[in-house]
C-alpha cells in the first residue's frame, strides 16, 4: 500500500510520537530533495485521510502552506534537513494547536499533510507534484472529497477482529475505529465497510446453512442406502462391473474429499447436479468461518473495491471451490452409483451410461435367467469383443494346466 513505512509509523502514532518523525526525518536526510519525490508516493499518503471529518482543522492549511511556500522558495537549494526540521517544528506547533480539537486521527492527518506539503515544496523543482499536492490540499480544505480506503487484507483482518470483539450486531463504527487504531480511517469508512461486511456475512451464512442441510440430507440418504457410510470410495459395485481398465472413476471420488464431507457425499451427489454449481462449497473444515469462503460463487452485490478481497481475508480466492464444483457435475453425476441392491430406498438411478453398457445394474444375486442369457449370448456370438477385456493367458499355459488336471485336449470330446 504505502511506499514509505516511516510515514505510516508516524501517522499511526498518537500525539507525542514525534520521535517517529525524527526517525522519518533521518530517512529524509539520506536523500536529496529531488529523490524524495521519486521515492515517496504521496497519493498513497492521502488515501484514507482528508475527508469531511478533517474539515475544521484544515483551515490552518493555507497558512502553513503559505509559510512553507515562503520557506520553500528560500530553501529550495538548501539542505532538506533544514526544511524538514522546520516542518517538524511547525508540526509540533500544529499538534499543540490541535491537541484539543478533534481526534488524533485528524492530527495525524494534519501532520502528514503538512509534512508532505513541506517536502513537496522543498523538493526540487517538481512543480507538477507540488501543484498536485497543493491542489489536493486545496481540495481537502473544501472537504467534500471522500478518499477511497484501500481495504487490504491486513486492514480488513483488523476490522474483522474489532467487529468480532464487539459482536457483529453490536459493532458500532466508532467503537470499531477505536479498536482498530488506524488513524487514517474515518468513521464513515468503517460504517460503509461494516455494512458491506454484514451483508456479505449474511450471504455466507445462508449459503453455509444451505450447504449444511444438503450434506445432512446426503448423509441421511447415504446411511439409509448403504447402512454403512464408510469406504464409499471403494464402490464395490463399480470395480468389477466396469472392468479393469476403467478403475479411474473410483479415483474421481478423491476430489470430493476436498470439497465436502469425507463420507457419503458421493452417495447422492448426482441426484442434485443442478445444485452443485449453486451450492457453495462449504468452507473446508480447517478454515474458521469468520468470513467463510465460498468464493467466486457469490460475490456481494455491490462489489467492493476489491471483490476478491471479500472472499478471503487471509488469502486470495483459492481455486478450491472451482475444482470442487467443477469436479462434480462432470465426474460425479455419471459416476456415482448408489447401491443397486437396495431398491427399497428411493435412491435414484441408474448412472448415466458410462460403462454399464449391457448390464445396467449389478445384481446382488444374479438371476439365473440373466446369467443364462448372457452365457447363451457368448456361445452364439463368439466373435463379440470381450466385455472386460482381460488379458488372455497363453494357450500353452492353460493347456499345461489342464493336462495336469487330467484333460488332454479341448474342446473335450466328452462334455
Amino acid at each position: 500500500m504505502l511506499a514509505v513505512s516511516p510515514f505510516r509509523s508516524a501517522i499511526d502514532g498518537r500525539e507525542g510520537e514525534m520521535e517517529n518523525f525524527l526517525i522519518g526525518d533521518g530517512d529524509f536526510l539520506e536523500f536529496s530533495g529531488g529523490n524524495l519525490l521519486d521515492i515517496i508516493d504521496f497519493d498513497d499518503l492521502f488515501v484514507g485521510i482528508n475527508d469531511e471529518d478533517v474539515l475544521p482543522d484544515l483551515e490552518m492549511d493555507p497558512e502553513i502552506l503559505a509559510e512553507f511556500s515562503a520557506s520553500g522558495g528560500e530553501e529550495s537549494e538548501l539542505n532538506t534537513s533544514v526544511s524538514v526540521e522546520k516542518v517538524e517544528d511547525d508540526s509540533v506547533k500544529e499538534e499543540d494547536n490541535f491537541s484539543g480539537s478533534g481526534s488524533s486521527l485528524k492530527q495525524g492527518e494534519e501532520i502528514v499533510s503538512t509534512r508532505d506539503e513541506s517536502v513537496a515544496v522543498n523538493g526540487s523543482p517538481k512543480k507538477a507534484d507540488k501543484g498536485r499536492k497543493t491542489s489536493t490540499q486545496a481540495k481537502n480544505t473544501q472537504g467534500k472529497r471522500k478518499v477511497k480506503v484501500d481495504w487490504t487484507p491486513e486492514l480488513h483482518r483488523r476490522f474483522v477482529q474489532a467487529v468480532e470483539h464487539l459482536g457483529v450486531d453490536k459493532a458500532v463504527p466508532s467503537r470499531i475505529l477505536e479498536l482498530m487504531e488506524i488513524d487514517c480511517l474515518t468513521r464513515h469508512n468503517i460504517a460503509s465497510h461494516l455494512q458491506k461486511y454484514r451483508s456479505h456475512r449474511k450471504h455466507m451464512l445462508a449459503r453455509e446453512a444451505e450447504a449444511a442441510s444438503w450434506s445432512q440430507r446426503r448423509r441421511l440418504y447415504g446411511d439409509g442406502a448403504t447402512g454403512s457410510g464408510n469406504k464409499r470410495q471403494m464402490s464395490p459395485w463399480l470395480a468389477p462391473t466396469m472392468g479393469f481398465p476403467p478403475m479411474t472413476p473410483i479415483h474421481h471420488f478423491r476430489p470430493l474429499h476436498v470439497w465436502g464431507h469425507p463420507s457419503v457425499d458421493q452417495s447422492l451427489m448426482h441426484k442434485w447436479p443442478k445444485h452443485l454449481p449453486h451450492s457453495p462449497s462449504p468452507p473446508p473444515p480447517p478454515r474458521p468461518p469468520t468470513w467463510p469462503l465460498a468464493p467466486a460463487l457469490h460475490p456481494p452485490p455491490p462489489p467492493p473495491s476489491d471483490p476478491s478481497f471479500w472472499h478471503s481475508p487471509h488469502r486470495r480466492v483459492p481455486n478450491c471451490p472451482t475444482p470442487g464444483t467443477a469436479c462434480f457435475p462432470p465426474t460425479m453425476a455419471p459416476m456415482r452409483f448408489p447401491t443397486p441392491s437396495v431398491p427399497s430406498i428411493g435412491v435414484p438411478t441408474t448412472p448415466t451410461g458410462q460403462t454399464y453398457s449391457h448390464t445396467p445394474l449389478i445384481d446382488l444375486h444374479p438371476s439365473k435367467e440373466s446369467v443364462d442369457a448372457a452365457i447363451g449370448d457368448v456361445l452364439s456370438k463368439p466373435w463379440q469383443p470381450l466385455p472386460l477385456g482381460l488379458k488372455t493367458p497363453s494357450t500353452d499355459s492353460v493347456l499345461v494346466e489342464l493336462q495336469q488336471q487330467g484333460i488332454s485336449k479341448i474342446p473335450p470330446t466328452c462334455a
Partner: protein
C-alpha cells in the same frame, strides 16, 4: 488344433468375464458355465486361474470388492434385523403390565 484350443480358451474366458459382470465367484462361474454352456468346471476353473495370473490386479480388486460387498450385506442385514426387532418389541411393550 492349437488354433481351436486357443479359440476354446478364448470362449471360456468370454464366459467367465460375463459372469464376473454378475459379480460371481469362481465357483459360481464354474457352476453356471457348466450348466449353461456345458463346459467342464475344471476347464472353467483352470482358465479362471490363468486369467487371475495374467490379471492379478484386477482379480485382487474384484475379490476385495466382493468381500466388502458381502460384509456390507451382512451389516445391512443386521441393521434390518435390529430395526425389525425394535419395531416388534415396541408392539409388545404394551403387554408388559398386567
Amino acid at each position: 488344433m492349437g488354433d481351436s484350443s486357443a479359440q476354446y480358451i478364448h470362449m471360456v474366458q468370454h464366459l467367465i468375464e460375463e459372469c464376473i459382470k454378475f459379480n460371481m465367484s469362481k465357483e459360481e462361474c464354474m457352476e453356471a458355465i457348466s450348466k449353461h454352456a456345458n463346459i467342464q468346471p475344471v476347464i472353467t476353473s483352470t482358465v479362471w486361474k490363468e486369467l487371475e495370473k495374467e490379471n492379478k490386479d484386477f482379480f485382487e480388486a474384484y475379490t476385495n470388492s466382493r468381500e466388502e460387498r458381502a460384509s456390507e450385506m451382512e451389516t445391512r442385514q443386521k441393521i434390518h434385523k435390529m430395526l425389525l426387532d425394535s419395531s416388534s418389541s415396541k408392539v409388545t411393550d404394551g403387554d408388559d403390565d398386567d
